[in-house]
Symmetry: C2
Subunit: 395 residues, 2 copies
């Protein structure tokens, strides 16, 4: 309770430095004078902070700007190349790794198929991807500043993987495994939480205060961002809205509950419908690709199927809106490829089921980072950790 951080001059400086950094990050190129005007900080204060940021390689001067009737301003820019971060999206049957600069721009990417989910095998694959990315990283003042990994499962506040059903992992300290190998600060997060954060910073959630990200893949996971911050519950396992009952007497779910949303609205549910409708008889790996083909051709049975899928997704979204009243809901992961066919039924369901006051306040968007939401989000966690340690952004 009382372990609140006390105030001192150090705190003041950190706050202001963070404001200056933030302003340059979002308004670059910008001069010292402009920063002073925008932030309300004194010109002298801004000059001091900028000098320190330049010394620490986080900012650089990029020549002179246009004069507006007086001395020409010296324009400042963020040095995104002061260091590089690694972000990894660990899927059930793939690993996607990216190398990003401090602004989240992707410099390198690698994808590997996963043949099984044995811990030792997956670990080796991840090691190999990290090593490749490290080799490809350009020279920079701080080098590789961190590794972030998004995993399909519960992750507790100490970065332990409690349970990842689809990987059949339980209680794995993956952070330790990575850090002992590379001696680089590592952050483990749930896949949907990472995706939510990725979209928040670089994608469909930019400048959005309250946002819910819905990752619809094999299952459904959700990442909740409130007041620009990721919300995790007591034990870090909030956002299990895929296991929200939408049919109290519905089918039994492996999670223990009945009638869970993801039983009806996930990719797996779609595949089950295909099988029931006997639209195709290929093996399940390829089902979705084929479905997409058929949808493009306009097969009425397929369109009908996707229409129903959209409606059920809409029903869950109605619940989410009633619960969170967010500005934006972002749909991500593989379901995005059916965007053209599910958008209308989703919107129709909302129109039908939302109360007057909720209708206008929430916007439905689709992921704009596509396959990279999770990897970029994971990378952003380690960037944030690094900048926070350097006292350049708030803890």
């Amino acid at each position: 309770m009382s372990s609140l951080r006390t105030g001192d001059q150090n705190l003041v400086k950190q706050i202001n430095k963070s404001i200056v950094f933030h302003t340059i990050q979002h308004k670059a190129p910008i001069s010292r004078a402009q920063i002073s005007k925008e932030t309300g900080l004194n010109k002298a204060t801004v000059s001091t902070m900028v000098a320190e940021l330049i010394e620490d390689h986080f900012v650089y001067e990029i020549g002179e700007g246009q004069s507006s009737g007086g001395r020409k301003p010296v324009m400042l820019y963020l040095n995104s190349h002061a260091g590089y971060s690694i972000g990894i999206d660990l899927g059930v049957n793939y690993i996607l790794g990216v190398l990003t600069d401090l602004s989240g721009n992707i410099t390198e990417k690698i994808t590997n198929k996963l043949l099984n989910t044995d811990l030792s095998y997956v670990t080796q694959q991840i090691f190999s991807i990290i090593e490749s990315l490290m080799e490809k990283a350009p020279k920079s003042p701080y080098g590789i500043i961190g590794i972030g990994i998004g995993v399909p499962g519960h992750v507790d506040p100490d970065d332990h993987i409690l349970f990842a059903p689809n990987l059949k992992w339980e209680n794995i300290d993956f952070k330790k495994i990575i850090e002992e190998q590379f001696h680089i600060p590592t952050k483990i997060e749930n896949e949907a939480n990472a995706g939510a954060h990725g979209e928040q910073l670089y994608g469909a959630g930019k400048n959005v205060t309250n946002q819910v990200y819905i990752s619809i893949g094999v299952g459904i996971g959700t990442g909740i961002i409130m007041n620009h911050q990721l919300y995790k519950g007591v034990s870090g396992i909030s956002g299990e809205m895929g296991h929200m009952t939408i049919d109290a007497n519905g089918r039994k779910c492996p999670c223990g509950n009945r009638g869970c949303w993801e039983l009806y609205a996930s990719e797996s549910a779609l595949i089950r419908s295909i099988q029931q409708e006997e639209i195709m008889d290929e093996n399940s790996e390829e089902y979705l690709d084929l479905l997409l083909e058929e949808a493009k051709k306009g097969d009425p049975k397929v369109l009908q199927l996707l229409n129903t899928q959209g409606e059920i997704i809409g029903i869950g979204i109605v619940n989410i809106i009633n619960t969170f009243n967010p500005e934006v809901i972002i749909i991500g992961n593989r379901m995005v490829q059916f965007k053209n066919w599910i958008t209308n039924p989703i919107e129709r369901t909302l129109e039908e089921r939302l109360s007057l006051y909720h209708k206008s306040s929430t916007e439905i968007r689709f992921s704009i980072l596509g396959d990279y939401s999770t990897a970029l989000g994971a990378s952003s966690f380690s960037i944030a950790g690094f900048l926070s340690e350097k006292k350049i952004i708030d803890a």
Copy 2:
């Protein structure tokens, strides 16, 4: 974006003063030396802050404490009587008003029945209650420092009542009405949000970081507290979890949705069941009192009814836990009186439906402020507003 508050000496002082105040509030009686040890603030700093707090009547010295081998400490105490706040719970057929001191202790209380919900009539009733409470308020340095009102409806960030279905009110600037009459800062909040805040500060949610309060009355409203703070969505209408679909093909709800939780789990649902079962044939006003009587007598039909009620409440709670993973869920409002009969079915439903990892992490509690949750919460908002303006707590 960049309108973040910049750091200066003033901010530092405010932070530390707030920490000192907070420490006295929660650990009183306490000495200056102890505060210094607990907070890490220098003894001199603590002395300065305490001197100011005493000068402003927020703290007083309460004689000497026990020596532990040296000079006796001077014990400090919060002056709860520096001012008084009015909290009002506006129900559909009642108004409950309380006068509280700055610590939320109830000094006076008044209840009035409401004969109808006409704005002018209700306004008059509220005026009259406020006047009575003001008259009864003891003399104090700051007098009546604020009025807080909890209402059964949507309240937007500007304290406008957007829509209160059960009062048949729409778009009412009640804050303005009260302030123009009394010239005292007034805060309007949703009833469930106020109740949640009340329990958080003074009741079943003390020291709980993440908590969801479920107000089960005529309808179901929920108040979400995360990180000790009330969460309201974009337009202030989050927490409508009563209108979460738990049966996708269920009955149509006036809100527009289908199969809403409150259709099955609210007080109204209970009354409807009674009617269907033809257990009683009295008029609806008295139904619940009679039901309680019968439950106490052990009528098997009634017990069965309450058992089912508990199960359905449990189904909704499972959704809430999956969504928020909170430490505590608090059940409040009139359903609390059936606590003895619904607790077991609720717990059983959670045991059945929650996943292993969620089972252990959330505790179900019942309101301990009883009828006063909302009024006390409303009062606490105005206290917070006052102390925040006096720079004694954070904005």
